[in-house]
Amino acid sequence: MANTSHGIGGLAYDPKKRTRPPELNVLAALVLIILAFEVLGQLVVGDSFLFNTRDNVDTLFNEQRLQIIILQVAIVGIIALGVTQVIITGGIDLSSGSIVGITAMVTMSFAQVAVVNGNPNPKAIFGDAWMDLPVIVPVLIGLACGLFAGLVNGALIAYTRIPPFIATLGMMVAARGCAKWWSKGNPISFPTESYAAIGKGMWPVVIFVVLAVLFHLIMTQTKYGKHCYAIGSNEQAARMSGINVTGHKVLVYTIAGALAALAAIVLSSKNLTAQAGMGVMYELDAIAMAVIGGVSLQGGRGSIIGTCLGALIFGVIISGFTFLKLDAYYQEMVKGVIIVGAVVLDQWRQTKRGRG
């Protein structure tokens, strides 16, 4: 156990060697990217990225663009909150995108209206008795769906000791299968007004921000959060010091599943439809947001604030590319470079600090 490189085993703490928090670097990167788009915008398309240049609108900033930057990442952001705490414990969750798929399908089946434009609902899944239910019914069923999937993930990882990568990979494939099976591949549409209200307008952002604040407090202020960092830094040590590692892991993955389910509810409500292919690749976007935000895949390091900044960087990039009218091909290429670049920079900063 004499692992001196971890800094506990007798190394003196030198406050001068303590660099600024990693979140500040991510924030700097975010500001830099925004500046780059502002400059490129002036040069290439002759318009401002952030500021309002329209005569008919009386605002300083281009509020519509500020809104979409956050709105388009809010739903994956909700997933990223759950993924962040999973990665901090040293694990990984590949199943969140598929959990979004199956949850959206199941939830939407219980959120349908009986009559569309005077005709019976052409996409009806269940009989009339299951139509026009109060909004709480589909929401609770959806959350239960995600909780269950997360619980299975957690139990597999904690009790059978198989690597999280494998357990959640299995869930990813199986849950996607369930999503396709649920309605034999048919989309499910036409939700009730009250269900549609969940994802209307800027509500996805409100839900995301509230959850982000909540999880920031949980990760920094509670025993639960401290245990996450402890397990991720050194699982053996955490076990030795009396932390219930097994139970904690089950809880972490269950919470991640519930957050994925919540994202599915917001997503299907916002789009007024559920499809078996919903949420494909969301897990990777969520992981990328966390990683760009400085969450270490080795575990033990990272924060909710970092992940939120990572999500914002994603949003700024998507909007910036559309603003510059850049072809979709290049967008994906640059996105890949940014993900890898962020980690390389972080690694480089880490070793520099390590050498002092």
Partner: protein, 313 residues
């Protein structure tokens, strides 16, 4: 090779349900909405004619599909209908059927050897180069009727690795070049939203944030058209001032059209393709000659004729 053939033959005997005559059908995929309508079209036409059909699911597996065809041949069907999993892997299927003298009809997806098919083989589908073109020409006419001579539009593409996305986008430009569009069209920007309603919503909002005036949206499918509409409505723009077109005539799209939002979509008649394939197969089996390429036309859907399509898919 011989052993392999014997093994295949044995497997064929083991796995094929006994079927002295009738028509064998191998579908690329069962759990696909569109292909299910097509499959039902085959079944209904067969029931009406009192024919027996055996429909198999190739589960998107090229090898499995070829096995099914060989099974059909071994069990002595009078004709085979194939909805190819992979359109570039059809030569082997044509060869197998031709060697056994069994008529073969490809449906919905155009086989790579479509121009060299033997006499007793045919192809029934809709012509993709017509799909979005019809909708676009109607869109141009509506702009002209609204008194516009020059319009600015956004183009939403499907997944870029997908042939249909490339073709449907090309159709717009082909129609413009051929002078089939009644007004002058300026494309402000063209981006992909990967067939997805959610991505289309985000993309449209990003476009709206530039504040550029526009007259309409050309979407490669209905899902993206609906996403664009949701974003335009959220921005408080009057849906009457823009014209949005999609392709597919899905139930969601028809509901949106009834609500006065979506202006134009195009219906691909899956049931008619299925029925047409069965007709061709029956004729070929009876030794009659048929057109080797049978095209089932796309049908334009607007608020004027929407009632005809509400129960079609």
């Amino acid at each position: 090779m011989k052993k392999f053939l014997i093994a295949t033959g044995f497997a064929a005997l083991m796995s094929s349900t006994a079927m002295a005559d009738g028509i064998g059908v191998s579908m690329a995929l069962f759990d696909d909405n569109f292909l299910t309508v097509l499959r039902n079209g085959i079944q209904e036409q067969a029931d009406a004619a009192g024919l027996s059909v055996q429909i198999e699911d190739a589960q998107n597996d090229v090898a499995k599909q070829l096995d099914q065809i060989n099974n059909f041949i071994a069990s002595g069907v009078t004709a085979i209908i194939v909805n190819p999993v992979d359109t570039s892997a059809t030569q082997a299927m044509s060869d197998a059927a031709a060697a056994a003298g069994v008529p073969l009809v490809y449906v919905n997806r155009q086989p790579i050897n479509v121009d060299t098919l033997p006499d007793n083989q045919a192809f029934v589908a809709s012509d993709e180069s017509e799909s979005s073109r019809q909708g676009f020409i109607e869109q141009c006419n509506q702009w002209k009727a609204a008194g516009k001579a020059e319009v600015s539009v956004y183009v939403m593409q499907g997944e870029l690795s997908n042939q249909a996305a490339v073709q449907r986008t090309q159709n717009y430009y082909d129609a413009m070049e051929a002078g089939e569009c009644a007004v002058k069209v300026n494309v402000i920007d063209q981006q992909t939203a990967n067939w997805s309603r959610d991505q289309a919503q985000s993309l449209m909002t990003n476009w709206l944030s530039t504040g550029t005036a526009f007259d309409g949206v050309l979407a490669n499918n209905d899902e993206m058209a609906l996403g664009a509409i949701q974003a335009i409505k959220a921005a408080g723009i009057d849906m009457a001032s823009v014209i949005v077109s999609g392709v597919d005539a899905t139930q969601d799209a028809l509901a949106s059209m009834q609500a006065g939002e979506l202006d134009i979509t195009v219906f691909q008649n899956a049931a008619a393709q299925g029925g047409g394939a069965l007709d061709a197969a029956v004729k070929l089996a009876a030794g009659e000659a048929v057109e080797q390429k049978v095209y089932v036309p796309f049908e334009l859907v607007t608020p004027a004729n929407i009632a005809d399509y509400l129960a079609k898919n």
